[in-house]
């Protein structure tokens, strides 16, 4: 039996994207951006602080790096917990040593349940991004709208109640969304989102409740992607980050300021055998005079100031 004839109909085959969330443009066609003090590469060091529940529901899919064994999967639960108890403090030490101003994307439940950790993070003049409720509360197509609305509101309100400055940014668990997620974000006062990794620079995004900016947080450079999923060595991760920085620095010479978004996971890079690789990377990135290390919000502010947003 052959497919319905609709399978060969293409109602959205026209200029631009096949959705109306943002305008189509190529990176090279956009006006060049200059970062403060004429720095050429903005470095956004993002650290994702996550709580992986032991009793995960896995709706609608098992989150990457989540539980895989029969309940109770203490093996994966405790290895993720290691990041919040031990690994993060190695990262914080490294940030101090190399003068990094970090951005923390944190599950709101974790922020609520670990006040000591939150207090330590707040000592860093850092920025906090809401990383959803926890790593088993995904946002997805087909999700009940009320359920998701409550989830976004609870996540943003909880984090806002715990930190001094209102949260501007959002990172969905597993960077997954429903069709409504962006609308819910702006309804809850979120100004930028990190889920759409389709660019190397910030760009404007439309929602039912007004504009949202997208701050692409590269998946391809993440520790958990390169080392965890692709099983590359730590040395190769270091090499790949250096290659990325070198490339963006060179590109900035002709095309204006560029952004390197580096996402880290304390449960991975905070391990004793990996922390020196992170130190090597930070030393390299921070050691260039062309580097502007800033939080995601500061980078976006500098970008908006020049592009008239």
């Amino acid at each position: 039996m052959s497919l319905d004839k609709e399978y060969l109909e293409y109602p959205k085959r026209s200029y631009g994207h096949d959705h109306d969330r943002f305008d189509w443009s190529m990176l090279t066609d956009r006006p060049p951006v200059t970062w403060p003090d004429n720095k050429r590469v903005a470095i956004w060091i993002n650290t994702s602080l996550q709580f992986y529940p032991l009793n995960q529901r896995g709706l609608p899919f098992k989150v990457p790096n989540g539980m895989t064994m029969p309940y109770p999967d203490l093996r994966h639960f405790t290895l993720r917990d290691y990041g919040n108890r031990v690994g993060i403090y190695r990262l914080l030490k490294a940030f101090e040593r190399f003068g990094v101003r970090p951005t923390f994307a944190i599950n709101s439940q974790l922020a609520r349940d670990t006040p000591y950790l939150l207090e330590q993070l707040q000592r860093f003049d850092a920025e906090f991004i809401c990383h959803g409720w926890n790593m088993d509360h995904l946002h997805y197509g087909g999700q009940d709208e009320q359920e998701e609305a409550e989830l976004v509101q609870r996540s943003v309100e909880t984090l806002n109640s715990l930190i001094d400055t209102p949260v501007q940014g959002w990172l969905s668990p597993a960077k997954n969304q429903s069709w409504k997620t962006p609308d819910l974000l702006t309804a809850n006062g979120i100004e930028y989102c990190c889920d759409w990794v389709n660019d190397d620079m910030p760009y404007a995004f439309k929602t039912d409740n007004g504009p949202l900016m997208m701050m692409p947080l590269s998946t391809e450079l993440e520790d958990q992607f390169i080392i965890g999923q692709n099983l590359h060595s730590e040395d190769s991760w270091v090499e790949q980050i250096k290659d990325a920085f070198d490339f963006l620095l060179e590109e900035s010479a002709t095309q204006g300021g560029r952004m390197l978004a580096l996402n880290l996971h304390p449960w991975m890079m905070g391990q004793p055998h990996r922390i020196s690789s992170l130190e090597t990377v930070l030393e390299y990135l921070m050691g260039h005079t062309e580097t502007w290390n800033a939080t995601a919000g500061d980078i976006l502010q500098a970008f908006n100031a020049q592009t008239g947003k």
């Binding site: 200029y15 631009g16 994207h17 090279t28 197509g141 960077k175 759409w196 990794v197 190769s236 490339f247």
Partner: protein, 314 residues
């Protein structure tokens, strides 16, 4: 379902008639940038899910969109630097969505060949007539947007039917005679072009398009480190160059701008391009040019030799 499609015969690599590429080149080298178009919300195909997550499946869609928004310019700059014209495996809906990219290809005199309409529309479950329509649409779209008469085919997302090759050859002939529909990239059985049997009897060949060297297979499926990809490309080339002293070989690097054009991967790719094009006896060319040369100079000798090796001289 058949045990084998039987579109080509067994033909041992050793003692074949000698292929002589232009200017005594040992290797015909071509780069095939896949310029693809993926839908955020494609219709379901019962035999294959487009995305692992429920729609909207951002993780897969967004990085592929990155290829179109960011990646193409980067690879084009590199290929320009080494004098390489791309032979584009094109999801032709991209002509409608992002014509600026087609314009960039046209400015470089790149070849465009068909990779279906979208890479989220599969051949599985199409009737023969539906697949014929899809292929005709793709060839006509390429002609309408570029004036090129599509020579090659790589089925969308490598989704095939038993008649994919037959249909491509036939539709190419219907539209443009022998100028279109002359090679397929869907067979991975050889390092030289080989004749392929299609039901119309048209002179039709398989073009080596290495999946082993395909950056998506290398990076996403086999999870290879970028610098090691460079090593693989050099070794692959070295052996084909050496063997090319006896008879011309073909090396293809199929790429995707959402893979190779990420900033942490371009250096390794550039090193490989510099290495390969730095050799004297390399014919840096396109898929169509290799196919036309082979059809003109080598195809008949190949048919005779194949028949001879299989003990049934015709």
């Amino acid at each position: 379902m058949k045990e084998s499609l039987g579109v080509y015969d067994y033909w041992p690599y050793q003692e074949r008639p000698r292929i002589q590429w232009p200017n005594g080149a040992k290797v015909a080298f071509w780069v095939a940038p896949n310029i693809e178009c993926y839908e955020l919300d494609p219709p379901a195909n019962p035999q294959r899910k487009a995305w692992p997550q429920p729609s909207p499946a951002l993780p897969g869609y967004t990085i592929r969109d990155y290829g179109n928004r960011v990646g193409h310019h980067r690879q084009m700059a590199l290929l320009d630097k080494y004098g390489i014209r791309g032979s584009v495996s094109l999801s032709v809906a991209l002509c409608d969505h992002h014509p600026e990219i087609i314009q960039l290809c046209a400015e470089r005199n790149w070849e465009l060949f068909s990779h279906g309409i979208y890479n989220t529309r599969y051949t599985y479950g199409l009737s023969e007539e539906q697949e014929r329509d899809m292929i005709r649409d793709s060839i006509e779209s390429i002609y309408r947007h570029s004036g090129q008469k599509c020579a090659g085919y790589l089925a969308p997302a490598l989704s095939h039917s038993e008649h994919t090759l037959d249909l491509f050859a036939e539709v190419g002939s219907e539209l443009f005679g022998d100028e279109a529909g002359i090679y397929t990239c869907d067979l991975f059985h050889d390092d030289q072009p080989t004749p392929v049997r299609v039901r119309s009897g048209k002179r039709f060949i398989s073009m080596p398009y290495s999946l082993e060297m395909n950056d998506t297979i290398v990076y996403a499926v086999n999870k290879v480190e970028p610098r090691h990809y460079c090593t693989m490309l050099k070794r692959h080339f070295d052996r084909l160059y050496e063997e090319g002293q006896e008879s011309g070989t073909v090396m293809c690097i199929p790429t995707h701008n959402y893979q190779v054009s990420c900033p942490h991967r371009l250096k390794a790719f550039e090193e490989a391009l510099e290495y390969i094009t730095g050799h004297s006896d390399v014919w840096v060319t396109t898929g169509r040019e290799i196919a036309e040369h082979y059809l003109q100079h080598d195809y008949d000798a190949a048919l005779a030799d194949i028949a001879n090796k299989n003990g049934s001289v015709q």
